[in-house]
């Protein structure tokens, strides 16, 4: 697949990010690459389907990160940051972030710096307008209202995945207020417009939409002068 380049400051260095797309149906990697903690967690899911997806996503993540480091997948140790973001305990220079929705997972891997990724199934959801009204910034709510009705579902999910990718990159997740920063909702130009009213702070971030099978919408965010995404399908 060709590299897709997001508008970048020509003076700066874009971040190179491997973007693994991991279908969670069909063959799953052996559960024995998971740690005892991960296996316990898998066992606690109420539904076999949820358990299978968890095992497939986390097994694939171990295999991909193990390949990148030249280490056996089962030997990797993870730790979680103060707000819950997972990191490699012994390899802090290799940054990654995992997201899954239904039967699709995506994993972003880079040496550039902390990265965030989010995927959602962009299906009409009756309460998405209420979620937007309750959580999005005034500029985002206005942008959403300006979209033609037929584009609003996709627009909502573009906003959501871009915001979530940024929050996952900074490692806070939803403990950071969703209305304290603004992202674009247009399909073509993904970027952070402002953070706490500061446009320059927003410009230090790069956001790229993901090209995924329908109905999935996704985004990756990283502090960089642009992103060169290298899409890959798991298993390779």
């Amino acid at each position: 697949m060709p590299d897709r380049r997001v508008p970048a400051d020509p003076a700066g260095r874009p971040a190179s990010v491997d973007l693994w797309v991991i279908p969670l149906t069909g063959a799953t990697p052996a559960a024995d690459v998971l740690s005892p903690t991960e296996r316990e967690r898998a066992a606690r899911f109420r539904f076999d389907r949820d358990r299978a997806r968890y095992v497939a996503a986390h097994g694939a993540m171990r295999c991909i990160l193990g390949d990148a480091l030249g280490r056996p997948p089962a030997s990797l140790a993870f730790e979680v940051g103060p707000l819950g973001k997972p990191a490699l305990a012994d390899h802090p220079a290799l940054h990654f972030n995992l997201s899954h929705s239904r039967d699709l997972a995506v994993l972003a891997v880079t040496t550039h710096g902390p990265v965030g990724v989010d995927v959602e199934a962009a299906l009409p959801i009756p309460d998405s307008v209420a979620v937007a009204e309750a959580n999005f910034s005034p500029a985002e709510r206005a942008a959403l209202r300006r979209l033609p009705e037929a584009e609003r579902v996709a627009g909502f999910h573009r906003l959501w995945t871009r915001k979530e990718a940024y929050l996952k990159a900074i490692g806070t997740g939803l403990s950071h207020a969703l209305d304290r920063f603004t992202v674009t909702s247009d399909a073509a130009a993904a970027r952070v417009v402002e953070i706490d009213g500061d446009a320059a702070a927003g410009a230090r971030w790069a956001v790229a939409p993901l090209v995924l099978p329908s109905p999935f919408v996704g985004a990756v965010a990283i502090r960089a002068e642009g992103i060169v995404l290298r899409p890959q399908i798991w298993p390779a």
């Binding site: 967690r41 606690r44 899911f45 109420r46 539904f47 949820d50 997806r53 968890y54 997201s99 899954h100 929705s101 959602e120 959801i125 309460d127 998405s128 209420a130 979620v131 309750a134 959580n135 959501w160 979530e164 997740g173 939803l174 403990s175 950071h176 207020a177 969703l178």
Partner: protein
């Protein structure tokens, strides 16, 4: 002022609103919800919108960490309803 049981029922309804197949009777109220049901952050936001509509309680971001389990969520909502 809703009873504890009514608040718990609202939490169960919120869970079913995002994960309709969930048999809430089998959930462990003292265990993290996200370890038992596949709920992502977007589902979590939708649950908060549902609970706001049902109970009128707005949960600030700083309190999200207090909503990990069903019983902790019930405790938090009851506290807010009592205070408010």
């Amino acid at each position: 002022m809703p009873t504890r049981e009514e608040v718990r029922q609202a939490v169960f309804d919120a869970i079913r609103s995002v994960a309709p197949e969930t048999d809430t009777a089998t959930l462990r109220g003292d265990r993290p919800l996200r370890e038992q049901v596949e709920i992502d952050s977007f589902d979590f936001m939708r649950m908060l919108v549902f609970l706001h509509e049902r109970l009128g309680v707005d949960v600030p971001e700083g309190a999200y960490g207090q909503l990990a389990t069903v019983e902790a969520t019930v405790d938090y909502l009851l506290g807010r309803l009592t205070a408010g």
